[in-house]
């Protein structure tokens, strides 16, 4: 017991030392401004927090219900019906939320294709969050389909209906998530093994590193081609619904617009995520990187708006857009949510004020999400009069999948070097580890921040 107390005191002193010597921070208003130099795990904090437990509990509820769903007919379980055959598992968790999960695509293409070097620093946050959005979305999809046992056909290409957007999605999304995205996430997992492993592990990983690095750029190609395909196909799904979708949203450009909305949400979400995480874990911010994200976000928002406007003009639907009925107001709301950040983020002052940047990123995300959700449900008018409102289990399962993502991200930032920080942080972390080793706590030969928890 005493030994624990001593350790905690020591940790405290190191932490204090850290805080007092962090003198190179530049004050900009109330925000510490600094440079992000490399991913650093969140250390010196308890792993298990009440928040984590809350989200884990919500996830547990969701997954328990999923298990029940597996043995229950869909009708009794959900608010879906023959007119609204798709509920929020498909329309929200998959068709809408994977837009937020497109950060690896949006940020990755900006960094690797359009050579925005600064953005490499936020790739890990994008990759981990993107993987979680996709993985939980795919789980939702698995419980949504009525005859999941026939899905093995995906391995039999001669059964594919290649012209079906649904086929494209059911093939591309799992392959992207569990192959390309998983591979992109591999370095940060192996990194932990490297630093916590035995000498043997280290030697093995040192052997693995060069070939992994050699195939990495080739995997990047797949990691961008695949989501470019399925993110646009998600919009392509609604094309077949024809005039059941309100003319403000039913356009041959739906695939392109869904893709642009994915880029917009991806950039917006990673900005939001970094600002929130840095706030939560008291990390300094790097306004150079955030400014770049805000800048790109603004351009993508403008581009989205331009395409949307030209499309409405071309299809002569501008009158419908300003008819000021329910659908037109919805359209105006969605457009305002995208146009506001586009305009505001042109101002350098907005891009450099974290609070305003956060607000604008949230608005853009909401706009993009609305655009992707509306044609599937709100602006979807089936041939016969019917209503759809998600049932309680549908809500709980959707919340459960999202909670699982949040909880997993909360764990990931502590176990892996996801969040960007300074080299100084990295070094402090290892100094703490060394102290802890000297304190010779019997269990816990681990050399990684999670083991530094004070609980």
């Amino acid at each position: 017991m005493n030994r624990w107390k001593k350790l905690i005191e020591e940790l405290q002193s190191v932490a204090n030392h850290h805080n007092t010597t962090a003198g190179t921070h530049e004050e900009d208003g109330a925000t510490l401004v600094n440079h992000w130099q490399r991913g650093v795990p969140v250390y010196g904090e308890p792993v298990v927090t009440p928040t984590l437990l809350l989200f884990a509990a919500l996830a547990a509820v969701g997954f328990t219900l999923s298990l029940v769903r597996f043995f229950s007919p869909l009708g009794r379980f959900s608010g879906m019906n023959d007119a609204y055959a798709w509920g929020i598992w498909k329309t929200f968790n998959v068709m809408t939320l994977t837009a937020l999960g497109s950060a690896p695509l949006a940020v990755g293409m900006a960094a690797w294709v359009f050579n925005r070097q600064k953005l490499h620093m936020v790739m890990r946050a994008a990759l981990v969050s993107g993987f979680l959005f996709y993985a939980t979305g795919l789980v939702a999809l698995g419980f949504d389909v009525g005859r999941a046992w026939n899905f093995y056909s995906i391995a039999l290409p001669w059964r594919w209906n290649a012209e079906s957007a649904m086929l494209e999605i059911s093939f591309c999304m799992p392959v992207y998530c569990f192959f390309f995205l998983a591979f992109e996430n591999l370095p940060l997992v192996l990194e932990r093994f490297y630093y916590t492993g035995t000498d043997q592990t280290k030697a093995f990983l040192r052997l693995c590193a060069p070939p992994l690095r050699r195939i990495y750029p080739f995997m990047l190609i797949g990691a961008y081609v695949f989501p470019l395909m399925h993110q646009s196909s998600l919009g392509g799904l609604m094309l077949l619904a024809g005039n059941k979708v309100h003319p403000l949203w039913q356009t041959p450009l739906l695939p392109l617009l869904y893709l642009l909305a994915a880029a917009l949400c991806g950039l917006g979400f990673v900005t939001f995520l970094l600002l929130m995480a840095c706030l939560r874990y008291s990390r300094p911010l790097d306004l150079g990187v955030l400014r770049e994200l805000g800048n790109l976000l603004s351009y993508v928002c403008f581009f989205f708006f331009a395409v949307r406007f030209v499309d409405l003009l071309w299809r002569r639907q501008l009158g419908t857009a300003f008819a000021l009925d329910k659908m037109s107001l919805l359209f105006l709301l969605e457009t305002a949510l995208i146009l506001a950040p586009a305009v505001a983020l042109r101002s350098r002052a907005v891009r450099e004020t974290p609070r305003k940047l956060l607000n604008m990123a949230v608005l853009a995300c909401l706009g993009g999400l609305l655009f992707r959700f509306i044609p599937t449900t709100i602006a979807f008018f089936p041939a016969r009069h019917a209503r759809y409102f998600p049932s309680a289990p549908e809500w709980l399962m959707t919340v459960g999948y999202i909670s699982l993502g949040i909880a997993a991200f909360g764990l990931a930032v502590k176990y892996f070097a996801v969040l960007p920080g300074e080299i100084k942080d990295w070094n402090y972390m290892f100094r703490l580890v060394r102290r802890r080793r000297q304190a010779a706590i019997p269990e816990g030969e681990k050399l990684w921040p999670a083991s530094l928890s004070t609980q």
Binding site: V113, G146, Y224
Partner: protein, 312 residues
């Protein structure tokens, strides 16, 4: 690295070759799979329903249930007799009554699958569980269906139904009595049993001519003097003649372009032989390779400077 071609030339070459391939494919796509206005094959079977003849006896509903082994929908009748309100997972065929709001005049309508010439459900079905079978009947194969219900979202006529109350749910829709009767050279149960000839069976070309004949003999009798299904959604194999407006009896106003054409006209070019994705991969590959090398050089310099392994 051979100095014969530099990077710019290579990139331009890739783009040029890709463009040529795409162009060639675009022109070769003339014989497209989803023409905007599909032409019915000569052997396409058809149903012609004329609601000025129908007496609403519902013999076709009974015959349909019997032929397809469907249970009775007794929700409304307190468990006594078949009384569906619309097509549902127990009803593949239904006669509905439309009454004018002023009480003067009424019309029946028979609803079942329209057997589109280019069905949206078939275009969307990921594993070809729904397919355009022999004679143009749209059939469903239980062993290929994953239950994604895209057919329900896609169908403009609100036809495919899902067994929401079953653990092993099926898609229920009229299949033109394909297995039960068509394959045995018999006409569908509903047309076979109709006592007044309100719904008749035949080749689509014959029935279309017959319908136009009826319009010609009594002009003004039929709504808009036209056959519903001749052009709707690219044309359907079930044809309607109606004394009242089509939308009043639940036949939606649709364009003459097939939904399959609308949904695939761009993607069928992009995805033809995967030329679009391959072209994208080529361009992305060239650019990423260049940026990757630059990044590697920078990260090596950074590693030297900080003494820390670079992170990917």
């Amino acid at each position: 690295m051979s100095p014969a071609i530099n990077r710019r030339q290579l990139l331009l070459g890739i783009i040029g070759a890709g463009g040529a391939v795409t162009g060639a494919l675009a022109t070769s796509a003339v014989a497209e799979e989803h023409p905007a206005h599909p032409v019915a094959p000569p052997d396409a079977v058809s149903m012609l329903y004329d609601n000025t003849i129908c007496t609403g006896c519902k013999a076709c509903m009974v015959a349909c249930n019997e032929a397809n082994g469907l249970p009775s929908d007794t929700t409304l009748s307190g468990g006594l007799w078949d009384m569906p309100t619309d097509l549902n997972s127990k009803t593949k065929n239904i006669i509905k009554l439309y009454e004018e709001p002023n009480g003067k005049g009424f019309a029946f309508v028979k609803k079942q699958c329209m057997h589109c010439l280019d069905p949206a459900c078939v275009t969307g079905c990921p594993f070809g569980s729904l397919k355009k079978d022999k004679w143009g009947a749209v059939t469903w194969n239980s062993s290929l269906c994953i239950g994604c219900r895209y057919c329900e979202v896609a169908c403009p006529f609100d036809v495919p139904k899902f067994e929401w109350d079953k653990w092993n749910p099926k898609i229920v829709k009229c299949e033109f009595c394909f297995d039960q009767r068509l394959e045995h050279n018999q006409q569908p149960a509903c047309t076979g049993v109709c006592p007044t000839g309100a719904v008749i069976f035949g080749k689509r070309t014959d029935l279309l001519a017959k319908a136009k004949d009826r319009i010609a003999t009594s002009p003004g009798k039929y709504f808009e003097n036209r056959v519903y299904g001749e052009h709707e959604a690219g044309g359907t194999q079930v044809l309607y003649l109606s004394g009242v407006a089509f939308d009043k009896i639940g036949l939606p106003k649709l364009g003459s372009t097939s939904l399959g054409h609308y949904a695939t006209k761009v993607t069928s070019v992009i995805y033809k032989w995967l030329s679009g994705p391959i072209l994208a991969a080529g361009i992305l590959g060239a650019v990423i390779k260049r940026n990757w090398n630059r990044h590697e050089a920078e990260s090596a310099a950074r590693e030297k400077q900080t003494g820390l392994k670079d992170q990917l």
